[in-house]
């Protein structure tokens, strides 16, 4: 198992980097844990949950255990936390907040029906990405219409939404055509290519989320 793990690391450096870089915002958050807003605390929880699933996937992959189901559960839990996060970000008791609840419930129901132990639940992932893009649109609409934010660059939720938007847009088509990109029947080279593309977008996602914690620090300093 250990040899397989080392072999996987050497063959997939991008995968290793993606796993390591997830710790960056976690460390930033733990370092500034006293000044975290409630949205950032939810985000920290999301990242910790993701990391735990990631470790599980490394272990199962090293032990040659099929772990597509772990990826599906990770996505499902991640979507729930994302819904909770946007419920917190958006204005209380607004139509947008209620829309977030409804859309999250829809994705949960679809995830249950689309769940697979053997394959990535591609269509479920696709719908999740579309819903996340919708959440981001709702949030951006709030930012523009409510005009409550004085410095958008130092506004953590803005960076959270930017991160989710880039990641969702970057991986939407990959999951829409999952049969040809990341399925168990996909050609090895094609699988690797889209795996790398997906990991690159994930890296971008994590870096942008880190900006959210840095922006929080800058905003608190200026207060």
């Amino acid at each position: 198992m250990w040899e397989r793990f080392i072999a996987m690391l050497s063959k997939n450096p991008l995968l290793l980097l993606a796993s390591i870089i997830t710790w960056l915002p976690i460390i930033l958050a733990i370092y500034r844990r006293k000044n975290l807003t409630s949205e950032l605390k939810i985000l920290l929880f999301y990242l910790i949950i993701y990391t735990l699933f990631d470790i599980s996937e490394w272990i199962t992959a090293s032990a040659k255990i099929h772990n597509a189901y772990l990826h599906n559960i990770n996505e499902w839990v991640g979507m729930l936390i994302c819904g909770w996060l946007y419920h917190k970000i958006l204005t209380p008791s607004s139509i947008k907040q209620r829309a977030v609840i409804v859309l999250t419930l829809i994705t949960v129901i679809i995830s249950v029906f689309e769940f697979s132990w053997e394959e990535i639940a591609g269509y479920s992932f696709t719908i999740n990405k579309v819903v996340i893009i919708t959440f981001v649109f709702l949030h951006f609409h709030s930012i523009i219409t409510e005009v409550k934010v004085s410095n958008i660059i130092q506004h953590p939720p803005f960076w959270i939404s930017a991160a989710f938007l880039i990641f969702a847009c970057g991986t939407l088509f990959i999951y829409l055509f999952w049969n040809h990109t990341i399925s168990t029947t996909t050609q090895k080279e094609v699988f690797k290519l889209y795996g790398k593309i997906s990991q690159m977008f994930f890296l971008t996602f994590i870096v942008l989320l880190s900006f959210a914690f840095i922006a929080n620090k800058l905003a608190k300093r200026n207060d």
């Binding site: 847009c169 939407l172 088509f173 055509f177 593309i197």
Partner: protein
Amino acid sequence: MINDSNNVLIISGTTILLFMAVGLIIFVIIYQQQQLKQKYEQQKAIQELKSEMQRQMLESALEVQEVERVRIAKDLHDEVGAMLSVTKMSFNQLLRKLDSAEDLAKMGKQTRELLEQSIGQVRRISKELVPSTLEEFGLILSIDEFIQKVHLASTTSFTFSHEGIAEKQRFDKKIELTIYRLIQELVNNALKHAEAQEITLKLTTKNNKIIFIFTDDGKGFDFTAIRNDPKSGLGLRNMESRLSVINGAINVQSSIGKGTTTTIEIPI
């Protein structure tokens, strides 16, 4: 073949989506900043409007105050002053009939003096309410007249200089009246509270502004404490209010035991 066309679709679709996402993020940043700028400008405009409204209300209040003073002065002079004069004349006639009784005549003369003093006080109050010298002859001569009267009534000495301003030079009526009222207030404070023995008044013009400096050698006071005290700071706040109507500014330098210097600047 199918895979190639799928690859093209996936890559191009992803690229388009990414461009749109980045474009959206940039749009949100720029648009939000513009909205914020507009909001601040609107708030600033509302604030300026409120300040202007307050200034106008204050101006109206001061005008009403002056009109009321004119009415009171007129009533004092025409009604009370006239009654006192008639009373004096009637009393003179009575005195002539009492010449033979010495003690009665003495009492009568004392009473007549009291009447004359009353008539004098009524005239003085009436004059102070409406400074007719200010209206007819301008600021310099009216200040001269005022400080001479105060000097006669008290032991305080006054020094008044007006560099660069001719004796009969006129300014805007509001400015002249404001300066005159401020001098009345400052002299009153210097005599009653500061117990000043020497008062210096300097009036000059510079850079399209009238600069008035009032200095006394009185007891001095803690400016910040008095200014913030709702009971004792009223006089100071009244001066500031009067000046705000004509866009003037006041600066008070004072410390306990070291007198007070008040500098007033008014744009012409």
